[in-house]
Structures are given as structure tokens and as C-alpha cells.
């Protein structure tokens, strides 16, 4: 199921009702079953997300390393709160739990790329480099 949902998400951009119904049909299971799976996993999105999906880790080791400042800076720069997407569809911001980079925190993931040992300067540079 997950490999199919990943393909569908890549194809449709996100897993809305159309995509869920489509997956249910080709997998031969009920829509409710697919819906249940999609809502269970954080990486499956039911809403469109920005071109650059920024996920900042907020769990204890990163928090001890200063993750809150990083998140606050990104919020201020993008003018959005966690869980929101900028109006031009360019950036989404999410606070997430531990991404297995605790020794190099604070850290964030932008789409599939990890950015570790973040400082405020580094975050500013990364945001500027994202087109």
C-alpha cells in the first residue's frame, strides 16, 4: 500500500479524494481503508503543500540545541505559522518529531534533503537559495 501511495502522491501532488478513490480502485480495497492509511502517516499529505516543504525538528535533543529560535526565524521570514503554506505556494512549514540527526541539531529537512548544524545565518542562506 505505501509504495502505491508514494507513487500516487508523486503523480497527483497530494492525496486528495480523487487520488484516494483512484488508489482504492486499482488496489481493490475500500476508499475508507485507503483513507485510514493516508491519515495515519505524516508523510502522506491530504492537502497541497508548498514547493519547498520545510520540516524543522522540535524534539528534545534539537530543542536543547536551539530549535525554537530556528523555527521562530523561519516563521518570521516566511510570514506563516507551522502547518501553513505561503500564498505563492512556494514554502510550507511544519514542525516535526525527531529525524535521527540529534547529534547535529538543530536540523531541518527541506523536501528530501537534510540540513544539519543550523545557525540563524545558515537558515537565512538556505531560504534565499530556494527558488
Amino acid at each position: 500500500m505505501l509504495p502505491v501511495l508514494y507513487l500516487a502522491q508523486a503523480e497527483f501532488g497530494y492525496l486528495g479524494t480523487d487520488a484516494i478513490e483512484y488508489v482504492a480502485k486499482i488496489m481493490g480495497v475500500s476508499t475508507a481503508r485507503v483513507y485510514g492509511v493516508v491519515t495515519f502517516y505524516t508523510m502522506l499529505n491530504m492537502k497541497p503543500i508548498g514547493r519547498h516543504h520545510i520540516q524543522v525538528c522540535r524534539t528534545l535533543p534539537c530543542a536543547l540545541a536551539g530549535a525554537e529560535k530556528i523555527t521562530a526565524l523561519i516563521k518570521a521570514k516566511l510570514g506563516i505559522d507551522a502547518g501553513e503554506t505561503t500564498s505563492d505556494g512556494k514554502f510550507s512549514l511544519l514542525e516535526v518529531e525527531c529525524l535521527a540527526s540529534c547529534g547535529t541539531g538543530p536540523m531541518m529537512q527541506v523536501n528530501e534533503d537534510y540540513h544539519e548544524n543550523l545557525t540563524e545565518e545558515r537558515v537565512t542562506e538556505i531560504l534565499q537559495s530556494l527558488k
Binding site: 505505501l2 508514494y6 485510514g36 502517516y41 536543547l64 540545541a65 535521527a100 534533503d113 537534510y114
Partner: protein, 424 residues
């Protein structure tokens, strides 16, 4: 100390088959193919004393021995690469730097229980690690270590890499199996255990990445060599991921039984900025915190951590200095568990959210004097009353923070504010 698990990670191009082979890689598999029966491999692993590195520390050879030999059903091996326990980042290092050791270990495990399909369940966020691992699997097929009649033995094995999609509970072995079966990652009641009723109801062995990665060395060098390391009940070496307020964070390989205080102060360089240690979580966020004054005699093995009232767990060492607000730290961890509860059992689903809310109000000056006992009560009612050990994993650290730093929690309530100025 000779490195076992980290023996390859610093070598150039360590993730490639060529580098792995030039450093003795796949020699263990050749030995198995040449001269060892499945039963002999299991005996060897039992004799090594290797215990599971995913958190519970169950003896690996014994676990394999529970798989029925005469079952008509297919058997599976699943490598647990879901690494999501806060404070733990050792498996990711092994996957990115030494994927062939994991593959070789997986083949050895599968051969010993007579499995012809193995899955590696990797957490979805680890996109780069997945690419490295898939490439290594492809190389391994091309070299004849995977596929039909491995090294001419007539033994077949396929390894399938499966990506998760973001859910901590899929690290719990039965949650993982539910996810692999195509559903939500809902844990299942045990018994029956996966060894008899696992993936699709078939006999299944689930082992952590680090457990499997230790196997090639054990087979190549011999169980006695491995068992010569460590303590009476905790054999060999273990990886520890060190994070938080520490001068040299990172992944360390330690011989079991090494003094914990010396490890933190000498190997990891101690707490930076001239500050003092306040507390340390030794085994990932699921494990009870130790106060600075409690670590003096602790050694880094299963028994010693347990005697100190905590657990070795995943070996995720989270260090907190004197500027850390323990109420906020407890809240952070409670929020993690509230976010990750799968929602099947009411004590866990409701209790985790209640604990998070109460910690939050204490931290923000709205706590009441009964709140601390209320959390202890909730924690006590979760413990032992849930389908999977996630419930205990959420309840234990919450109670430990209050018991060990009670005065600090009470000061927050009395003064109606956070009493620690520079809280992280």
C-alpha cells in the same frame, strides 16, 4: 578497543561493495555458505551472547530458535531500520556508511531460519539513506550474494527495501509488520509473537539494524571473540548516540560495561561552556532520566542501567546541563508521545495528551499543587494497561522527571512561572 560496528564507517567510499569487500566484507557469508548449517549459525550467535540492539535487549540467537523449523508457511526476516527513538541516530550512520554489513547480516539471519524473503523497513524520511541502501542491495544481487542459489549453495534469498511514511510506532515490531502488510501501523497483541505469527501470519524474525550489522564480525571472528568483550550478561560492543549539551556529540562504539561518567566526561568531552551536568537520559526518550548525582557508579550495560532505575534502550544519550528546564524537557517528551500514540488503547491515547497538557500548564505558570500527583496517577494507569510497550515508554519518563526533579516542578507551581531562566 577494536571496532566492530564502526570498523568501516570512516573508510573512503565505505558504502560501496568494493570497499566493503576489500575490508573483509562477505567473508562471513562465504564461511556460512562453505561450512555452516543453519543450526550451526544459530548456535554460534547464541554463543556470542548478542542481544537485540533495538531497545529490548532480547538474546538474538534465542529469538531465531523460536522460529518453527517444520512450518509449511513461508518465513520472513525483517530488518528494523525505522530508527525514530528521540536521541538515536546510530542506525542511520550504519545505513549510510556501511550498508553491506547490514545486508550481509540480513542474509546470515535469513539463511539460519530458512527464510527466502527479507524486508528492510526504513523510515520514510531517510531518503538519502534509502538510496544508498538500495544501491548496495543492487550491487549485492549483481555479485551473487542475493538472488538465486547464493554462492552456489542452492539457497535463494530476495531482499526488498520498504519505505515507511512517518510514524514512530512503526518502529515497534508488530506496528511495523502491520504497516508492511499495507495498513495503519497498529501494533498487535502479543502473544502470539512474530517468531510464530508475524508478517501475514507467518513466522518472522524482526531484528534491529545494529543487531544484524554485528553478525558478519561474529561469524567471521567467532562467537568466543565477541563474548570475550563486555560483561557477564551484556556481551560485545554497543553503539551510543550522544546529543544535547555535550562537547562532542556523535555516535560512539563502546565495549559493554564501560564507566558511564568517564564516557561522558572523557570520550564525549563533557558539558561545554563551563556548565554543570543536570541530568542525562541514557537510552532514548522512552527511558527514565538520571540525575547528575546518580551516574557515578553506572556502567554502560543492560544490567547496570537497570540497577540505576533506567534502561540502556536504544543507546540514545541525551545530555542536559544546568540551564535546562526539566519541566519543559518533560513537556517536550510528553508532546512527542502524545503526537505519536497510535490511538488504539484508551489509556495511551488519552493519557499521553493529558500528561502533555498538564506539563504545559505547569511550565507556563498555570499549574496546581495537585498536578504532579495527577501525572503520576495517569502514568501509573497507563503502565501495563496497553497493547504495546509504547504506553510504558511514555509513562516511565514522565514519572521519572517528576520524581527526580520534584522541587523544580513545585517551584514552577508555587511561583506561577518557569523558574529556570535560559530554558532550552
Amino acid at each position: 578497543m577494536e571496532k566492530i560496528l564502526l570498523r568501516n564507517v570512516d573508510a573512503p567510499e565505505s558504502h560501496t561493495l568494493a570497499a566493503y569487500r576489500s575490508r573483509g566484507g562477505y567473508r562471513a557469508l562465504e564461511k556460512v555458505a562453505r561450512e555452516m548449517s543453519p543450526a550451526r549459525v544459530i548456535e554460534e550467535v547464541k554463543a556470542s551472547g548478542l542481544r537485540g540492539r533495538g531497545g529490548a535487549g532480547f538474546p538474538t540467537g534465542m529469538k531465531w530458535g523460536f522460529v518453527p523449523k517444520d512450518s509449511p508457511k513461508p518465513k520472513y526476516v525483517v530488518c528494523n531500520a525505522d530508527e525514530s527513538e528521540p536521541g538515536t541516530f546510530k542506525d542511520r550512520l550504519l545505513i549510510e556508511k556501511d550498508p553491506h554489513a547490514i545486508i550481509e547480516g540480513t542474509i546470515i539471519a535469513a539463511y539460519s531460519i530458512g527464510s527466502h524473503t527479507a524486508f528492510i523497513y526504513i523510515r520514510g524520511e531517510l531518503a538519502y539513506a534509502s538510496q544508498v541502501l538500495q544501491k548496495a542491495i543492487d550491487e549485492s544481487y549483481q555479485a551473487g550474494y542475493l538472488g538465486k542459489s547464493i554462492l552456489g549453495t542452492g539457497y535463494d534469498l530476495d531482499v526488498v527495501l520498504h519505505r515507511g511514511a512517518g510514524a514512530y510506532i512503526c518502529g515497534e515490531e508488530t506496528g511495523l509488520l502491520s504497516s508492511l502488510e499495507g495498513g495503519k501501523g497498529w501494533p498487535k497483541v502479543k502473544p502470539p509473537f512474530p517468531a510464530t505469527h508475524g508478517l501475514f501470519g507467518c513466522p518472522t524474525v524482526v531484528n534491529n539494524v545494529e543487531t544484524l550489522a554485528a553478525l558478519p564480525w561474529i561469524i567471521d571472528q567467532g562467537a568466543a571473540q565477541y563474548a570475550a568483550l563486555g560483561t557477564e550478561k551484556s556481551k560485545g560492543t554497543k553503539l551510543f548516540s550522544v546529543s544535547g549539551h555535550i562537547r562532542k556529540p556523535g555516535v560512539y562504539e563502546v565495549e559493554m560495561g564501560y564507566p558511564f561518567k568517564r564516557f561522558l566526561e572523557e570520550d564525549c568531552g563533557g558539558v561545554p561552556n563551563g556548565r554543570h551536568l543536570k541530568g542525562v537520559i541514557p537510552g532514548g526518550a522512552s527511558m527514565p532520566v538520571l540525575r547528575a548525582d546518580e551516574i557515578g557508579e553506572v556502567r554502560m550495560d543492560y544490567e547496570s542501567f537497570q540497577a540505576a532505575g533506567t534502561m540502556l534502550g536504544s543507546g540514545g544519550v541525551i545530555v542536559m546541563d544546568e540551564t535546562t528546564c526539566m519541566v519543559k524537557a518533560a513537556w517536550n517528551i510528553a508532546r512527542f508521545f502524545a503526537h505519536e500514540s497510535c490511538g488504539q488503547c484508551s489509556p495511551c491515547r488519552e493519557g499521553c495528551h493529558w500528561m502533555e497538557k498538564i506539563f504545559w500548564r505547569v511550565e507556563n505558570g498555570q499549574g496546581e499543587s495537585a498536578d504532579l500527583d495527577l501525572i503520576l496517577n495517569i502514568s501509573g494507569n497507563i503502565m501495563g494497561n496497553t497493547i504495546c510497550p509504547f504506553g510504558d515508554a511514555a509513562a516511565m519518563p514522565a514519572a521519572a522527571f517528576i520524581k527526580k526533579y520534584r522541587a523544580e516542578f513545585e517551584a514552577h507551581i508555587a511561583e506561577k512561572r518557569c523558574v529556570i531562566s535560559a530554558s532550552g
